[in-house]
Symmetry: C2
Subunit: 525 residues, 2 copies
């Protein structure tokens, strides 16, 4: 997930101190490990790489210290893989005594293509403050420059803005203090016969690792915060890999502690300087609080968390069901939109109905565990929602679900109805086969978030071959374009597209894209 | 003083640890006092101000916190006077929760005109690293931004590079932790009948105060280091004002501890990360080591310093005298140039001869105190230098000193011969009166350093009215153009000139211009 334009200055929030205390109790230990830069590289043309930009090695990192830099000189360090952490480098002066400060610009990039952009020209709507760039002045050398901010990068471009005509700067020992609350030692990756799938798995694993910090972040470069819909996928991926259940628990308590006064869980929360709910509400994201809780219970069978948070979960269903008619039809409203995907070019009504069914089924599992006396009410609502979907949203003639007043057929509706298992396995197989025939190759979808649901729907519908093909065409293509971690946004038809007007603003390590580790583990191992 | 292009990577230096230990022993205590910004101001046209740029008040500083700033918004804080120190400001976010870092640019200016320049376009030869500008990222608000570097400024321009579309930044409580090793409480300024002279005195006092730091700095904004010729004037000004003799002692030991292997004292030294002599040598600056020591002895009668440093002083004379012919003519060389002034458009030979005479007379005072058995040798050298000056450099027909093979008449030659008292008081009076008639208003001199010597020569020659007139025309004009402290360079005919191609690089608080406090105290009290 990322930025939204919602502003709700009027909304008040609860701050359940008991739940916040539990959230703090499970604050993770951050693991640090120091990684040295591998090489000095140059940008080069590479038709196979993102935006046609790759790198070529210029020299070993050990030769860095033999290269004095003066005004305007620049070089690019390559750390060999994606890392999240603090950058440090030792700098000394050679020549005459240092008669002026060193002025230095540093740019951090996840992908080489980012280094092609002139960031000073960026005028897009996303905050320029996300651009991973800093200017530093060093009054006294030798010194170790240790940047206080955390960056997300593989490449570091150093530009000497100026020394003086009398001396030059020498750089040595560039390192990153790489940080994650995930412990890679706990992961036993599956041995896959297919090397392409193995690579797809590994890149997903690295993506998840680098997004696991103080909370599950959406992206460590940009936004850096906990989104509920993203958390759902991260948690699922985490159960099959790092198994850091405390971090999921922390995030559940954070959301559970700070609903709005009407009970809705916000789409995202901040944790610094203290815990703050964002003023953004998404119909599906609020519901996914239930989904994350149910998945967590399924994996851990931890009754305490369920006891603590059941009422919050139930409130999400209750709020959502207020928008459902007696006939079982979900009526969406503009001020509580359903996300499904970034694209606003397709109708999301039927997707919303399917997500509500999907989540309500998970809620019923929890209600049974908690022995909720009102369980029957929810069971009846489920029946009514499913019945409406089958009778009024499914076009028997065409064999596809329709969405909205224009009876639009789109991918997301079929996918979410499949995931919600409104139909039998056999019907789902037909539905997704028709979806493949009608909509593939997919057009106009740019998020790994929706591609994940499409892929999972294929698996769920027994179309394993199509699912693997899609995984290779989508996540595999990111790797072929140079990805060390998976991206926030990717349209295979327009690989160089930035939703923000500059690749420097794209997040090339974004957690909602890490799910091949989950899909491979669940369906292919 | 400022930058020079000299490079002498081949020269080796002594590091007399005993003298360096004494230099460290007298490291001053830095006095801190917190000063609040006074107002928010705008730049405005002002024909009377430097480069036609003044400021108008927009609001009281107390109203600052009621002004939320978003992308591209900027404001200028006015501290009401010039200060040297660290800047601090408190920042908070208003609106939706802070969903992106704050990116902030800060520019510090001694004069409003500096804020007109686009620093990114600077391509001059002086290091861009001196531009007082910084970019800061704050990931978490509220926070107090406390900049680690020291700046020299009256004005601070804050530009919000970006917040996000959802929130704005509020700034409050801007303060400077002003720093100086001078103690203004120790100064009893003279009560002068003339308010213009009183103002000239006060601005000189502030200039000196702000340049007194860990050493006597040439300018706290740029170069920030100890130059020997500048020290001479600062020490004289200090004796009449702050009377911080330990700081002079520290600086004398620093120079005395680190001559080159051939014995010459470098023109300047650095003190961070440790004591380092610069690879720059100026004939007159090396000699002024003697002058500073003699002035110090004259003011303090401290025999220990004289004992410790006499041999270093003597070595400067010995080296200089190697360049004097049997007839008493100084022969200058290209690799040990005489400074006199930044301008290279006039011949400096006769000025060099005069400076050597001036310093040799001070040396003889020291030699007598130390009872140097070789004193007679130096007395004879003085006679020979003076005789040559009178017989071969003075043009009796014209009544002026000539300089160089082209027999050039220039201001500096007359001034330094007057200061050296080669002639009688009566003759000096005639010489300087003729200098006024022939060369005033002065053309082509842009340093307060040389203007100081011209003014002092007028006083020494009994031309007090002309001296005061010049002081008002020169230092007084800086005040009329908006100076809070005196400038590194100023040509009254071209007030907006920058030797560096940008006013942002000019130092508007430069110690060698502080000398009205000394001149007023010595000649007008």
């Amino acid at each position: 997930m990322g930025f939204t334009f919602q502003k709700h200055a009027d909304i008040k929030y609860l701050h359940n101190q008991s739940l916040l205390a539990k959230a703090r109790q499970y604050q993770p230990k951050i693991n640090h490990h120091r990684v040295k830069a591998l090489a000095v590289v140059n940008l080069c043309q590479n038709a196979d790489a993102l935006n046609g930009v790759g790198v070529t090695k210029v020299k070993d990192i050990d030769e860095l210290a033999s290269q004095p830099l003066k005004r305007g000189d620049k070089l690019i360090l390559d750390f060999g893989d994606h890392y999240v952490g603090q950058f440090r480098i030792h700098i000394k002066a050679v020549g005459s005594p240092m008669d002026a400060p060193l002025s230095l610009q540093l740019r951090f990039a996840e992908m080489p293509a980012e280094l092609m952009s002139d960031n000073s020209e960026y005028q897009g709507w996303l905050s320029k403050s996300w651009i991973q760039e800093t200017h530093e002045h060093l009054d006294v050398l030798p010194a170790t420059l240790e940047l206080p901010r955390r960056y997300s990068f593989r490449y570091v471009e150093l530009t000497v803005v100026d020394t003086s005509p009398k001396w030059q700067a020498i750089f040595e020992h560039p390192v990153v203090d790489a940080q994650s609350s995930a412990d890679i030692a706990k992961v036993r990756p599956p041995k896959l016969g297919d090397p392409e799938l193995q690579a797809i798995y590994q890149v997903g694993l690295k993506t998840l690792e680098d997004c696991m910090q103080d909370v599950f972040e959406d992206g460590p470069k940009r936004d850096r915060r906990l989104w509920l819909g993203d958390l759902r996928l991260q948690a699922l991926a985490n159960y099959t890999t790092f198994k850091n259940t405390d971090l999921v628990k922390r995030c559940l308590y954070l959301f559970g502690a700070m609903p709005s006064e009407d009970g809705r869980v916000p789409a995202d929360v901040f944790t610094k300087p203290s815990e703050v709910p964002d003023d953004t509400f998404l119909f599906d994201y609020s519901l996914f609080f239930i989904s994350v809780l149910a998945d967590y219970e399924d994996f851990t069978a931890n009754k305490q968390v369920l006891t603590d948070l059941y009422n919050v979960a139930k409130r999400q269903i209750d709020v959502a069901l207020q928008q459902v008619s007696k006939q079982g039809e979900l009526k969406l409203t503009a001020d509580y939109p359903v996300f499904v995907d970034w694209s606003d070019t397709f109708d999301k009504t039927t997707s919303g109905q399917a997500i509500l069914i999907y989540v309500l089924k998970q809620f019923l599992v929890l209600a049974r565990q908690i022995k909720d006396p009102e369980i029957q009410v929810y069971a009846e609502k489920l029946t009514s929602l499913e019945k409406f979907a089958k009778q009024h949203l499914f076009d028997r003639r065409v064999g596809l679900f329709m969405s909205g007043s224009q009876h639009e057929y789109n991918v997301a509706s079929q996918v979410w109805m499949t995931l919600a298992h409104v139909f039998s396995d056999q019907e789902n197989h037909q539905l997704m086969q028709l979806t493949v025939n009608k909509f593939f190759p997919i057009q106009g979808i740019a998020t790994p978030y929706l591609y994940h649901h499409v892929t999972q729907a294929l698996f769920e519908a027994g179309l394993q071959e199509e699912a693997v093909k899609l995984m290779k065409a989508y996540w595999g293509k990111m790797i072929r374009l140079g990805a060390d971690t998976y991206w926030e946004a990717f349209d295979p038809e327009k690989p160089n597209y930035s939703p923000y007007g500059s690749l420097a603003l794209n997040s090339y390590c974004h957690a909602w894209s890490c799910t091949p580790v989950y899909l491979i583990d669940k369906y292919l191992k």
